[in-house]
Symmetry: D3
Subunit: 166 residues, 6 copies
């Protein structure tokens, strides 16, 4: 059985993440989508909230599990007997950072392969930080995240703010 | 009448920004150069100071207005009946970030077009952060900003500092 | 006599830095490897510790000196009568930032040339921040830094932490 | 009156080109879409055919004219009293080549500005050469070009071929 | 059973290609490495020779098949009931071209996923065209290709040439 | 004595090449600028003409020699006892190709270092191919090449042509 880990911060999960997940579940027998604990300083959503949103968003997949992890990604992947780590590679993205992490991970444990998938080009611009920024400015995130995340963002950000997205 | 918004942080305005402005005023009937409020954590200049410096630096243009804005850029642009958002695209620049913001803005409101202009290649290296860094290290910013900004930087940074630009 | 400055934060020095140093000593009569003071907010190692580690790591070279500097890099280089500033250019790296700094430095003083060297491709992924991250997660940094740095990292990070590298 | 030139080879015109045209006509009072004569060695369509296809594809715009030109683009633009040259800037594209040509053109005549517009992200992958390749392999170009171009391609390539698109 | 196609020109197969193949065979139940027919104008090796070299180089894998194909890659992949198309993504590579082809292929048939794998960083510089160039200049290709390809190159190029690799 | 090779096609030498040469002569005791023989299919200038133009353009430097070479660049560099190969790295340039060749050369002979220098940013757009293109379209190449090259181009291209630079 081929198992893949799809790691990330998912603060919050976007339609772009779900597009990658949808591709990964066709390639692997089981996909573990896993929230990296403590990886960001001031997340909007707590770890538990992010896991809950991921579970809700991915509930239609039988071969997907949602978890969280701490420590080195490759060691976590190994402990799960994963064959692969899945990463989305947007045309606009931190491409070089992805490669740097993939190479460093490989140097640490050669036996877990990083597999890059491309989301639909309509998600080219989409990232969790864009979603957070638009939500903070009271913009409509309908095209960016599933409805459950949109409602959760609204609740969180009710207080509102007054920055800009220039 | 074709109106364009030229948004930014302008902390402070540089010769590179003014080069772009000079090109935009030939393309549009009116250009609104607009300071994004609350967009940076610890600006050197207050919003009012940045607006004052921009007004001084752009005073030779009859069809330029200086403003500030808050909230979503596209909604601000719409409220001004702008046809276009102008962005400088340096050969060295956060190119992908510019594209990401342009695409996200377009997704939010399809009717405002982002127009990219190239500054003179002699401003390839120039950004507000380079200016702040050189000024903090007591370097000469004469080639980087108009005289009025140079004097304002001197006044602000009189206390000096002792970091490096390696 | 051709003197080159190899400036950096070196928090900590990596095998990639030493690979560049090894190339630079063949090109120049003297290389001054110099720690940029106050250039990072929260370094792992103090300036004195970084200098000591560099001295230990570079002690086999007769024509290498370890120093620190503050203020504008080009003015420091000039004060040392340096012909060149050496920078490593990894395939994966902040390539554009390197160019921006090189151009800004040149604009400040035209007479110091920035020379870019390529480290061995096996260091493509390597940076001080990757080293710090892997060390913090209790990963093995044996392939990344010289033994003396590895021991120093261990001592520093004994307390450990619990973030991730996703 | 602000006139813009939209130059290209247009062998053949694609939906991506038409997307850029659609944006340009909102920004300028008049757009001259102009076929660069003799710019490719072995075009699929003759210059006259390309002009005819462009005229058919752009006939809904009152302020668009289709022409061809030879010689230096900037001199042609000047002879048309154009304020701007319009270029599409796809996320995936010969970005650096576009900049190089824009800078070289500007050096030749400072008074014509190059304006970069972004097509819809769904045309990220699209270029005339992809269209020609897919058409030659008997693939369906329905999503790539307007119907009239599709019919013209079919007629041209009836003989068929046997290469690949790996 | 998950089947993947690894398409290419393979003129000739390099150690970089074999590194990717080695990773692909761990991810998929069966890998079909397939020579794109007629995809280059003047190949060094005929299609049959390239297939023979691939077969020799990949003979240690039980789940690898060597074939050739013509026409649209996605239609070939479909006819083989492939789940995925495998492509190597070198840090130095025609990255954007790879993405463009992947997106165009996806637009033609949504059901075949392109999967990008990274070869070992020591193959960063390696491509079939580098191999051909070095071989033509009588350089030693020992580090670049398997022994059987090296011998085949020697035989082919015995006549030699006199160009350069500047 | 530190010797550097500055190799290229130089069809023809541009002001950008001369800018790099000017930097290299300050870094090395001797610079050999060397024309790669047979490296282009249809050069405008013959090898002898290119050497003659380089000699005229570089005659003010006492420590510069003009030569030509054939075969592997690293073997030529070795035969000249060169410490370094000098390459210009424009912000806009075939950056990845430069890296690929540098890495492949290094793999062939580890003892010759490739050193990258940046030309003045005003040559960002400049390449021999731009010069040839502008000259063919009867544009003024005064800002691009030294006077002697401009005269040589005029003589060569008297017949003229009628392509475009779109």
């Amino acid at each position: 059985m081929k198992i893949a880990i799809y790691p990330g911060t998912f603060d919050p999960v976007t339609n772009g993440h779900l597009d990658i997940l949808d591709r990964a579940v066709k390639l692997f027998d089981k996909v573990i989508i896993s929230v990296a604990r403590n990886s960001t300083k001031n997340p909007i959503f707590t770890e538990d909230e992010r896991i809950a949103l991921l579970k809700a968003a991915a509930k239609k997949y039988k071969n997907v599990r949602v978890e969280s992890f701490t420590g080195l990604l490759v060691e976590y992947a190994r402990s799960k007997k994963a064959t692969a780590i899945v990463r989305g590679l947007r045309v606009i993205s931190d491409f070089e950072y992805e490669f740097q992490m993939a190479l460093a991970n490989r140097r640490l444990h050669e036996d877990v392969e990083t597999v890059f998938l491309m989301p639909n080009e309509k998600y080219t611009y989409l990232s969790s930080s864009i979603v957070r920024e638009v939500a903070r400015l009271n913009g409509n995130v309908r095209d960016f995240v599933p409805p459950i995340v949109r409602r959760a963002l609204k609740k969180k950000l009710r207080a509102g703010g007054s920055s800009t997205n220039a």
